[in-house]
């Protein structure tokens, strides 16, 4: 009797499990639903392929992928920074994809050399400064922010923040651990308040006079400049963007990117989706809707991004940032960067 019941239950759930839709693709996304869904809808309209999505923190999604193993339903892992992509590849959760379309769309420094992941949009961590209190000619590089001249004038976010970790990882890659640790200590000494809040909070803190310069991602400034809320627009108008390290290596860039999972049951659709996200109109959407820079060259970025002018981007291999991520966190711990 018991045996029969067990068989029945297992059998019926089996039917459910085997019932995999052929024309669908499943995404684990670190990108918030709000910031990707419109594109996914367009993809479905275009191809007829249904898109299923779960959002969440990148590392936890990676953990879920890892635990689910070869049975994981996920076909695509989408993250908002390079370190997670690197980590997923290290853990063997991604598979290489060879696609001429992807290769041609994404510059070599913003994709994995063997095709495990591809950048989809660019996010630069730059300096914002108070227009009325800072002469931009005094600003030069990330490194120079540790100068005592900036004592009690710098605001940053917590060192738990992935974007700060990537930035410090890039400094380690360029300047070495010792120099970067010395820099971090100098920067911590210049903090005008303990690290806290988010990037928009930092911009508001500069606007209100709590600090004179801050390290933020460009698209938050873009979002505030175009906000529905008057106070946000007002705060954003009091600060200006400075592209650091232009003389030599260029400003620090991170990517939001994606790779096809090792367990993917819809590999074809997954690749198709990545290609779709790199089409010209999708790339322009990233720029217009969320003020991120298109990873593809030659896309019209819209007025907000245009006003920030031309810039040089650091063309370090992004993998380097992934390699140095843990070291960056330890270094910030040692420097007392909370």
């Amino acid at each position: 009797m018991l045996y029969k019941i067990v068989t029945l239950i297992l059998g019926s759930s089996l039917l459910l499990a085997v019932n995999v839709h052929a024309d669908e693709v499943n995404i684990y996304s670190e990108r918030k639903e709000e910031l990707i869904k419109p594109l996914l809808k367009k993809f479905t309209e275009h191809t007829g392929t249904r898109v299923n999505i779960i959002t969440g923190n990148g590392d936890i999604l990676i953990k879920r992928l890892e635990i689910e193993g070869r049975n994981s339903p996920a076909d695509v892992l989408l993250t908002t920074d390079i370190a997670r992509l690197y980590r997923a590849r290290q853990k063997g959760l991604l598979q290489p994809v060879r696609s001429e379309v992807l290769k041609n769309a994404v510059p070599a420094s913003f994709r994995d050399s063997e095709g495990y992941w591809y950048g989809l949009s660019l996010r630069s961590r730059i300096i914002v400064y108070a227009k009325d209190r800072v002469d931009p000619s005094r600003l030069s590089t990330y490194e120079a922010l540790a100068d005592p001249r900036w004592n009690n004038r710098v605001c940053v976010r917590s060192s738990s923040n992935a974007y700060n970790q990537s930035l410090v990882a890039s400094l380690i890659a360029h300047d070495g651990i010792e120099a970067t640790e010395k820099w971090a200590k100098g920067l911590v000494a210049n903090f005008s308040r303990p690290p806290q809040g988010g990037d928009r909070d930092l911009i508001k803190a500069v606007a209100v006079g709590e600090c004179d310069v801050a390290l933020v991602n460009t698209y938050y400034l873009g979002g505030m400049l175009n906000s529905d809320i008057e106070e946000e627009r007002k705060a954003a108008s009091k600060v200006a963007l400075f592209w650091p390290n232009q003389e030599r290596r260029g400003a620090h860039f991170n990517v939001s990117g994606a790779g096809v999972t090792s367990s993917a049951q819809h590999k074809e659709a997954a690749v198709q989706l990545l290609e779709f996200l790199l089409r010209d109109d999708s790339q322009a959407w990233y720029a217009r809707q969320n003020y991120e820079f298109p990873v593809k060259k030659g896309i019209e970025p819209g007025p907000t991004l245009k006003q920030w002018g031309e810039f040089n981007a650091d063309d370090i291999k992004l993998e380097e940032l992934g390699i140095h991520n843990a070291e960056a966190v330890r270094l910030m711990d040692r420097a007392g960067w909370k």
């Binding site: 635990i67 988010g198 966190v329």
Partner: protein, 564 residues
């Protein structure tokens, strides 16, 4: 007949067999084992060899994590007792303008998620917020010309958590005050104790076990909080766990940190247990006269109204006012058909979880009572530990055994029938519900347990002597008497699940959203205004049962209906 709190059941009455051989006990222990499985997975991480991450942590930040978490617990503990116990005493014992409304209004902050209140207050009190901007406008000061308390600080976090957690203490303490025999209080009065001394010498000691139950819930919530401390940039234990995992990429060390966190909890549970044992006072009379509430007039009345409404204003009215203000700006873009689906998902999930948790709690508390012994006590205590563990950590603890089960079934079917069953449980609502039970059973268990101790064994004996036993006994005696406690358990779990974020976020199936997920995703992008509609919806859905519950408790005083 005198009732002496805890040790009232002798094994002689309930049979001679060892408890562990009864099927009922076996079931109880199985459930407890199942629920502690995720925690054991985490504790098991201790046996993974420690990496050099530990050396780094103890050299740099570990002491900070511990100290900050302790300060946070101390601060929240003191503030919630003040905000919870004093109003509970006043609304129970006195009549003053607004006291009837405050009885239920004091529970309202229960519906407010901690991270939402933190985001909201920051939006208001921040240097760039409306308050300080206005201050600068009228005085002409610059930012550096004045001092203003920094909201994103340890003190700020203590305040935020206390504003939303004090209702646990208020709820349980008020129930205790209501149940106190009027005789004890009147005797105190006839012996010449003033109201103040009656409170400190009689009412407070009698209510102490209840206060401690509430306090331990509050402190466990405080330990598990991640949203608030993370946003405020405080290096607490939870932020440390996630930083070790995400930043250092060392999930083993992160699990070991979580196991260390559980040590904290065990200490808490022990203190609670010890304190109950120390309890020297018991109700000595079962005669409940109707409570006469003294009317306050003039200055005392004004003070009482002001003091008792303060927690409601701070924990509810102020944040809700700002949320409404923001919701007006954004609702057109946010509230659509999908929004209603989120709401429906939230309610269904919370409702199911509340029912399952209360049923389980009833079963376990009753089991502990029928078959007392170290084994059952340990089993019941273990299944309540998850309350202090951050949802994300529990989620991982839930995923691992479920995935193992799925994999075993899959391998079996692949080998025998050459078909893959894939994942049967992982990534379904079963996993989500499992995590809720691990995390929130403690709430239901404590409430139900407290209610159960109020039923005298003589009542059960009387029932048995006329041949009523088993489930019928529970239905005829326990459920009617414990109605208040059961409803409280239902409500607390409902509201907790409604607010729950991290476990739902990571364990949910594809395309499944709740209000809490919606609110968090937008607030996390620092789009506070856009998050306001979802936050308000959480609060609104939570308020309805809160008010209903409060009315039930007011009526639950023994003798209320019959007027004896």
């Amino acid at each position: 007949m005198p009732v002496t709190g805890t040790r009232i059941f002798s094994p002689r009455i309930y049979g001679n067999t060892l408890p562990s051989f009864r099927p009922r006990v076996f079931l109880l222990i199985s459930i407890s084992a199942l629920l502690s499985l995720p925690l054991l997975v985490i504790i098991g991480s201790f046996f993974v060899p420690a990496s050099d991450t530990w050396q780094h942590l103890s050299d740099t930040v570990l002491s900070q994590y511990i100290v900050n978490s302790l300060i946070l617990m101390l601060g929240v503990g003191i503030l919630t007792i003040v905000l919870g116990v004093i109003p509970a005493w006043f609304v129970t014992m006195y009549r003053f303008p607004g006291s009837r409304m405050l009885e239920w209004a004091l529970l309202l902050p229960l519906a407010m998620p901690a991270y939402i209140i933190a985001y909201t207050y920051t939006g208001v009190l921040d240097a760039s917020g409306p308050l300080q901007s206005w201050l600068r406008d009228i005085t002409g000061w610059g930012f550096r010309d004045y001092w203003f308390p920094e909201i994103r600080s340890l003190g700020g976090a203590i305040a935020m958590l206390s504003f939303v957690l004090y209702p646990y203490i208020y709820l349980i303490t008020r129930a205790a005050f209501i149940e106190q025999s009027i005789c004890a209080l009147e005797t105190a009065r006839t012996l010449g104790c003033g109201p103040c001394r009656t409170f400190f010498r009689v009412a407070l000691p009698l209510a102490r076990p209840s206060i401690i139950v509430g306090l331990s819930l509050v402190l466990m919530e405080t330990l598990a909080d991640y949203g608030t401390v993370q946003y405020f940039g405080i290096s607490a234990f939870t932020t440390g766990i996630f930083r070790t995992w995400f930043g250092l990429g060392d999930s083993a060390a992160a699990a070991q940190l979580s196991a260390l966190l559980m040590l904290f909890v065990m200490v808490l549970i022990f203190i609670e247990y010890w304190s109950r044992k120390q309890q020297r006072y018991h109700h000595t009379s079962s005669r409940y006269g109707s409570l006469t509430q003294n009317r306050l007039n003039g200055m005392p009345a004004a003070l009482a109204t002001f003091g008792c409404s303060l927690p409601v204003v701070l924990g509810f009215l102020v944040p809700v006012a700002f949320l409404i203000h923001w919701a007006f700006l954004t609702y057109a873009d946010i509230v659509d058909a999908e929004f209603l689906t989120y709401m429906q998902n939230s309610i269904l999930l919370a409702g199911c979880a509340a029912l399952v948790a209360t049923t389980l709690a009833m079963f376990m508390a009753y089991g502990k009572r029928r078959d007392p012994g170290p084994l059952t006590r340990l089993a019941v205590n273990l299944s309540g530990m998850g309350y202090a563990i951050p949802g994300t950590v529990i989620a991982v603890g839930v995923m691992l055994p479920l995935a193992w089960l799925d994999k075993s079934i899959d391998s079996f079917f692949r080998a025998e029938f050459d078909i893959s069953t894939g994942l049967l449980l992982s990534g379904t609502l079963v996993a989500v519900m499992f995590a809720y039970m691990v995390r929130f059973l403690a709430v239901a268990l404590k409430t139900v347990d407290a209610g159960l101790t109020r039923i005298k064994p003589s009542m059960e004996e009387a029932g048995r002597s006329i041949g009523v036993s088993g489930f019928k006994l529970i239905r005829k005696i326990h459920i009617p008497i414990m109605r208040g406690s059961l409803l409280t358990a239902l409500l607390l779990v409902f509201v907790d699940v409604l607010k729950e974020l991290p476990a739902t976020l990571i364990l949910r199936p594809f395309n499944f959203n709740t209000l809490a997920i919606r609110a968090y995703e937008l607030a996390n992008e620092e789009r506070l205004a856009d998050a306001s509609c979802s936050s308000l919806a959480i609060v609104l859905v939570g308020i309805i049962p809160v008010i209903y519950l409060s009315r039930t408790i007011s009526k639950s005083r023994p003798g209320h209906d019959t007027g004896t």
